[in-house]
């Protein structure tokens, strides 16, 4: 067992190599864009930047954060790349590191990202005062996978069962996994899995596949349910993409394997397969088909270029397949979802 610091490290992107933060003795704490802090990030950034990133900065500016030993930033997109720039300005004393992140997963990218992970290990070792050992990383991968597997079991049950409040409950488990120490997150997820879901929804509502990026608010899922949307599977960065298992082939170098696992995970639109341009459209169709969805709801944070740019081809591909899509743009507030209620209800009536 490595030294536990009892300190937390903040992060904002689902690509963050959480196992390394834990191996360095820290609890990863995702700075979710849920806050009552004033809307003031536009002061340093721009009002037309991604609300996910602006809300994270609002939390930093409004001191709406737990004690953090540092912040880990990923170079995942333009908005995320600008976040550390502004963070350093508003919280000058904070320790921060920006990890570069390739957009494709070919061998040279895997090697480069492995190097970035080794660099991160060095930084974390300096911060904690003791080097990050390979053995500890491997242990943390196992613990992490236990959480990932439990959450995935819970998700399967929710996806299949249509439990009353099920989606809401699952989102709570994701939120705990994103912000609480690992043992607590595992316990929480296991408890919910064994006892939390009982009452089945009555009636047969049309099945919907939900995909997009940032939607961390449990209330949003309650609202989907109240609007009659029975979500049978989901692909969101604050949902099923949040905690993904790390599988490393036997005999592969640890960091190369970790790099390959992270770059090869179910991706957000910022990562793609250059050998199959526009693959995301096909993936959405396949996911929707796999869960027998009658329609697709796409929910994105406003101003998200990687998703907005792929939307026309996703729309077109779904149209050809005869699968209706509802596009919702939000600003990471529950109210923005509330505004969409009529549209969601009409969409469900249409799928009827």
């Amino acid at each position: 067992m490595g030294r536990q610091t009892n300190e937390s490290l903040g992060y904002g992107c689902a690509y963050t190599p959480l196992v390394m933060l834990r191996a360095a003795g820290y609890d990863p704490y995702r700075v979710l864009p849920l806050t009552d802090s004033h809307d003031q990030a536009g002061l340093h950034l721009h009002d037309n930047l991604c609300p996910h990133v602006k809300k994270i900065l609002d939390r930093a500016m409004g001191n709406d954060l737990p004690v953090l030993a540092g912040m880990i930033f990923m170079n995942s997109c333009d908005a995320m790349r600008r976040l550390p720039d502004a963070w350093r300005k508003v919280r000058e004393g904070d320790r921060t590191v920006l990890v570069d992140l390739p957009v494709i997963a070919d061998e040279s990218a895997v090697r480069f990202f492995a190097g970035e992970l080794r660099r991160l290990a060095g930084v974390l070792g300096e911060w904690s005062g003791s080097p990050v050992s390979d053995d500890r990383v491997k242990e943390c991968i196992q613990e992490h996978n236990r959480l990932a597997d439990t959450l995935s079991g819970l998700a399967s049950k929710v996806n299949a069962g249509a439990y009353k409040g099920g989606r809401n409950t699952l989102q709570k488990a994701y939120a705990v996994a994103a912000t609480k120490p690992l043992p607590e997150a595992i316990r929480y997820a296991e408890d919910v899995l064994s006892s939390g879901l009982k009452e089945k929804l009555s009636g047969s509502l049309p099945a919907v596949f939900l995909f997009g990026n940032i939607l961390p608010d449990t209330e949003a899922f309650a609202l989907f349910e109240a609007s009659g949307a029975r979500i049978v599977d989901e692909d969101l960065c604050t949902g099923s993409r949040l905690i993904q298992p790390v599988r490393i082939e036997d005999g592969e170098d640890l960091y190369t394997g970790l790099s390959r696992a992270i770059l090869g995970r179910i991706s957000c639109a910022r990562t793609f397969n250059h050998a199959r341009p526009g693959e995301i459209a096909q993936t959405v169709v396949e996911r929707a088909r796999a869960c027998d969805a009658k329609g697709v709801i796409f929910h994105t944070a406003k101003f998200c270029d990687p998703y907005l740019a792929r939307l026309p081809s996703i729309r077109e591909t779904l149209r050809k397949e005869g699968i209706p899509i509802l596009v919702l743009e939000g600003d990471c507030t529950t109210r923005s979802i509330g505004q969409h209620r009529t549209r969601i209800e009409a969409f469900i009536e249409m799928l009827g």
Binding site: H44, H46, C50, C77, A86, F112, P277, R310
Partner: protein, 412 residues
Amino acid sequence: MLINYFDDLEKGIVSSINDQGGKASPRKLYSLEIARLGKRLYSGSNKVAWCGVTAPFDLLHAMGLTSCFVEFIGAMLASTGMAGSIIEESDHAGYSSDACSYHRAIMGAAMKDLMPAPEILVGTTVPCSGGLAVIENLARHFDKPLFILHIPQGDSDSDVAYLASQMKDLTGFVTEHTGIALDRGRLKAVIEKTNEARGIVNEIFDLAKHCPSPANSKDLNNFLITMALFLGSDESVSLARAYREEFAQRLSENRSGVHDEKVRLLWIQNRIQFKNPLVDTLEKEYRAVIVSDELNSITWGPIDPDDPFEGLARRAISIPFNGVTQRRIDHLKQLARNYKIQGAINPCNWGCRQGTGTRGLVEAGLREVGVPVLNLEVDCVDERKFTEGQFRTRIEAFMEMIQTRPNPWQQH
């Protein structure tokens, strides 16, 4: 349609040069090169590579490809006043109106068959996620092979080596998909031309630093970002020479770019690409000259012609919109010092996350050296959104303010 446009443009410029007895201003030669690039792209007889902004165009040129960043199309459509209707086309396809209008125009142009089909596409992770996504979309649209260059954020030796190896892989990719092998001798000759042009361009910028500057606000409009497309060619060298000679001559005759220069301005990012009266207002009413552009700056060293990949990689990494914002701010401050800048204009192109994303940080940074910044919330491509009165008021108020401020570079 566009081939005719470029053809007419070329003919018009050539005949006007002939009318002047073969004499041409450097700006005219620059336009001529653009017309010729346009013709090469649209002729149907050249192998075209559509690229991201930071691709190594000289390397692709050495392999016989006509390469160009896709944003060139957005800018050309804007300058011809056609962007609006083409952007509408992409709106109809569900392309978000919150996205960058360079990219919306490009997607609209592709849908309207106004872009030639490429042999290959080369996406670059810098400057922006949006541009990279557009290249991926185009690869799907044209069903052509796509290569991605990941430009690292840092400039450590391993970062440089990573990019250099990707660029080597790019040459293999080109060979695989076009059958053209890399000729080392030709590459060497091309890189020597790149270095030559680089040296002259540096001299041009040094001349422009003079007070008053031999440059007017339009001389170097879009200059280096377009020059990057010509690097490695004989034409790039002769074009650079023409500028150098013109500026040197103006200096020797004590002719400034704008008569009675009073205020020196820095333009951040790209210019507004469609015709608009703002620059004329600045020059005529305030004797204010844009003497420097953020992207008119050589930030890289000469490239080793015998082993160019490392130098090409360093060049791509060095471009100021790569890396942390502090690096960009330091570069802007340096330009402000070198050119004795009294005010900066930042066109916050609607939908541009990378360039305008740190609007506030850039403004605060320049203010540290006494340079106020005017943030213009403008769409640089879609002329339909341009409301002249609003922009005039902002520009004029900014100039009224600068006139009452002490010049930060004047000795007291």
